[in-house]
Amino acid sequence: MDCPLFLLLPFFAGDFYINLASQILIAAIFALSLNLLVGYGGMTSLGHASYLSVAAYISALMTSRYGLGHVSAAFISIAGTTAMAAFFGVIALRASGLGFLMITLALSQVLWGRAYRMSNVTNGDNGIAGLTRPMPFGISLDSAASFYWCALIVASFAYLMMAIFVSSSFGSSLKGVRDQPRRMAALGFNPWMIRWITFIYAGFWGGVSGLLYVYYNKYIHPTSLSTTSSAEALLGVIAGGSGTLGGPVVGAALVLLLKNYASAYIERWNMLLGLVFLFIVLVMPTGIVPGLGRLVTGLRRGSR
């Protein structure tokens, strides 16, 4: 990671770009959490937006409606989201492959529908606005730069934690279960438990990204629960390369940049998203990062 560049960004870029970078960091954490499931666990989920949104909503409600401080709200939010992940995991892991995909899709659709319907709680289509950002150690995060640095710290920590996770012996077990579940069971590993724990951990970090998301936007709306949201995250993971840790970060950044720039010129973001999906899956199925890696290796070999 190019540390100096990331740290010094606010010193040479304008607010617009700093904010964009913050959004990329949030999307990166979200994509990394999804990748624990998709890339390392072999479980493709189309409902990961649930964790981001629910965490965001809980924080929004706790602070705006119940007047809780940000620390308590954050704690309740993450605890609630993680509990939800545990519950959803039990249901979703009754199936695998396509069945798992369909259940995760269905569960997030339920939440999406509820968010619109329960307008006395969620404010329905209006969303919850007028939220505030927390003030860790009394420091205000309202400026673009200060929020960015906070997001950078959180994102770096998240990346580190997930890197430790995937290279730990548990991580090796997870990858083993992804590749040969029957063999792993015969060796004494408990595939269900390994998957469930991973599911919960992925939900936890999804929730963390949700907190940053609601702090950044100071607003939350049911569209964050839509299939499009989950699909964008999935695209980021797959486009970047699900077999690696850096891939989803690159992919999430790309999807976000594309969305930002494209929507300035083209109204049809969804159509573009669909086309990009088709392109990536057909042309670069393992993702950009492995693809570039191969390219670099190929160039190195060629220059000898």
């Binding site: 012996s169 090796s172 590749d179 029957r182 069971a185 015969a186 004494g188 590993f189």
Partner: protein, 251 residues
């Protein structure tokens, strides 16, 4: 009722399994003493691998019991049976093809250890696992390939890795599903001598479709056909039995 002296390593009692209308295991009963070497033979479709799948827990029988050292494991999930000392190899290679040989064996060793739940330390932290993995690879003559990915090595070598992985956990009961299938003559004799050198603490059951190749490894033989036990007993007695000839010639 005979007194239940459970000094059997593996006991199968009246096992039955049917898929829809098709009966694949019919009233199969077997008892194996610790350290015994048993060969299960029978024509294609006799239900040998299905029987193994029920012993390992991949398949649930419709009725009957499976006991490991006196404990009823019929309701146990496959991973739990591994903790009871059961280990197996598969007909189809189920190795981790993208990983090195050493990593494959290491995973085999990790399965029974509490450290498999460790979410902090990398696998490389456990130096003793690596040492043991290399020792096991050496025992099967593959130490020189330890750093190679499984996808790179030959079929015969892969079979040896499968065997090594199953033996890594020092199992009490080992199921070998056609361990000699598809091997050349030299590879075959290598694997056979490896099987012959398995310590007596391990009870071994082997499936082989081709009778002749594995006979000298067996002490007792069970002949299956259409899911039923046809003949069962000491090797020489089973070979000499008329019914054995019937089954193989009549097919």
């Amino acid at each position: 009722m005979t007194p239940l002296i459970s000094n059997h390593a593996l006991e199968i009692i009246n096992l039955n399994k049917a898929f829809g209308g098709l009966s694949v295991t019919q009233n199969v009963s077997l008892a194996m003493r610790p350290g015994e070497r048993r060969l299960i033979i029978g024509p294609n479709g006799a239900g040998k691998t299905t029987l193994f799948n029920q012993i390992s827990g991949d398949l649930r029988p419709n009725s009957g019991q499976i006991k490991l050292f006196g404990t009823d494991v019929t309701q146990f999930a496959p991973y739990k049976r591994a903790h009871f000392g059961l280990s197996r190899t598969y007909q189809i290679i189920t190795l981790f093809t993208g990983d090195t040989l050493e990593h494959n064996i290491t995973l085999g060793l990790l399965g029974l250890r509490p450290s498999r739940w460790q979410m902090w330390r990398p696998l490389s932290f456990y130096g003793d696992l690596a040492t043991e993995a290399r020792r096991i690879l050496d025992a099967v003559g593959l130490l020189h390939l330890a750093a190679h990915p499984v996808s790179d090595i030959a079929y015969g070598e892969k079979r040896r890795v499968e065997l090594a992985m199953a033996l890594a956990q020092r199992p009490r009961v080992l199921l070998l599903d056609e361990p000699l299938a598809g091997l050349s003559n030299t590879e075959r004799s290598t694997v056979k001598s490896l099987i012959a050198s398995i310590p007596r603490e391990t009870t071994v059951i082997m499936i082989e479709h081709d009778m002749d190749t594995a006979l000298d490894l067996a002490e007792t033989v069970t002949l299956l056909n259409y899911g039923r036990v046809i003949v069962d007993g000491d090797r020489d007695a089973v070979i000499a039995d008329e019914r054995t000839r019937e089954v193989y010639l009549g097919v």
